[in-house]
């Protein structure tokens, strides 16, 4: 569980300090690894490994859909702003 907490910390640190959108998304991925590790470790300790395993698989499927959508969004953002800097996303144009 300590390792899962460490992964959450690393991901949150990346989210708070990085400016590149892809780096921010890598931070989210690291957090998701921590969550899946916490789920499975809890199942392992509580002897509910089958249930934890099915929850982790559901989580991975949701994660893949999230990644596909977010990366498509990032490519669209790059096409509009010609940059991956989050600070350039402050202007909203209709």
């Amino acid at each position: 569980m300590g390792f899962a907490a460490a992964l959450l910390f690393v991901g949150l640190y990346g989210l708070l300090t990085m400016k590149n959108i892809i780096k921010l998304f890598i931070g989210i991925e690291v957090i998701s690894k921590g969550v899946s590790l916490a789920l499975l470790a809890t199942g392992f300790v509580k002897k509910n490994i089958l249930l934890a395993q099915s929850l982790v698989i559901t989580f991975i499927v949701v994660e893949v859909c999230l990644v596909a959508t977010a990366l498509a969004l990032i490519i669209n953002i790059y096409r509009h702003t010609k940059s991956l800097d989050v600070r350039k996303l402050t202007n909203l144009r209709g």
């Binding site: 569980m1 300590g2 390792f3 907490a5 460490a6 992964l7 910390f9 690393v10 991901g11 640190y13 990346g14 300090t17 990085m18 400016k19 590149n20 892809i22 780096k23 890598i26 931070g27 991925e29 690291v30 690894k33 899946s36 590790l37 499975l40 809890t42 199942g43 392992f44 509580k46 002897k47 509910n48 490994i49 089958l50 249930l51 934890a52 395993q53 099915s54 929850l55 982790v56 698989i57 559901t58 991975i60 499927v61 949701v62 994660e63 893949v64 859909c65 990644v67 596909a68 959508t69 990366l71 498509a72 990032i74 490519i75 669209n76 790059y78 010609k82 940059s83 991956l84 800097d85």
Partner: protein, 160 residues
């Protein structure tokens, strides 16, 4: 147990590399290696299906998606990350580890949890019979993902 600890330590190390590396491709590869370690740890925790999913989908497919995005955007030198964030990270991480070791161990024993019940049956029974609604949700999420990607990459008409 030692090997498990080494795997988890490697997972944290490569995750740190993925977040702090300057080069985006190195970040993506570090993330894939971290997923590989996590998958092996899952298999060692007697969860082979989750391990295989983690290695094939997260270490494989998601890395390919990241590489494609990095290749399509081609703006690596564009964003300057602050050097202070990289320099200060070890300090914050050591403080966090101290808190993690000192506080979490006592805190975890106080957190209420479901009672321990030994599971029976195979993995397929749990996934198809107990978590049937999850599978419906998964299908809905996959469809939502497909439609959103299609919507994001659609070609615009001249009128729009």
């Amino acid at each position: 147990m030692t090997l498990q600890m080494l795997l988890l330590a490697g997972l944290v190390l490569f995750s740190i590399l993925a977040v702090l590396a300057k080069d985006l491709i190195k970040s993506a590869i570090s993330l894939a290696v971290a997923s590989l370690f996590l998958g092996i740890a899952f298999i060692r925790m007697s969860a082979p299906y989750a391990g295989v999913f983690e290695i094939s989908v997260v270490a494989g497919l998601i890395t390919v998606l990241f590489m494609l995005t990095i290749a399509l955007t081609k703006a690596e030198g564009d964003v300057r990350e602050s050097k202070i964030a990289r320099l200060v990270f070890p300090l914050f991480f050591i403080v966090f580890l101290l808190i993690d070791v000192l506080v979490m161990k006592s805190l975890l024993q106080k957190v209420p949890a479901l009672p321990e019940t030994a599971e029976q049956g195979a993995f397929g029974d749990v996934l198809w019979k107990q978590r049937t609604f999850d599978l419906v949700g998964q299908l809905a999420v996959i469809l939502a993902g497909v439609f959103s990607v299609l919507a994001l990459f659609r070609k615009r008409n001249k009128d729009e």
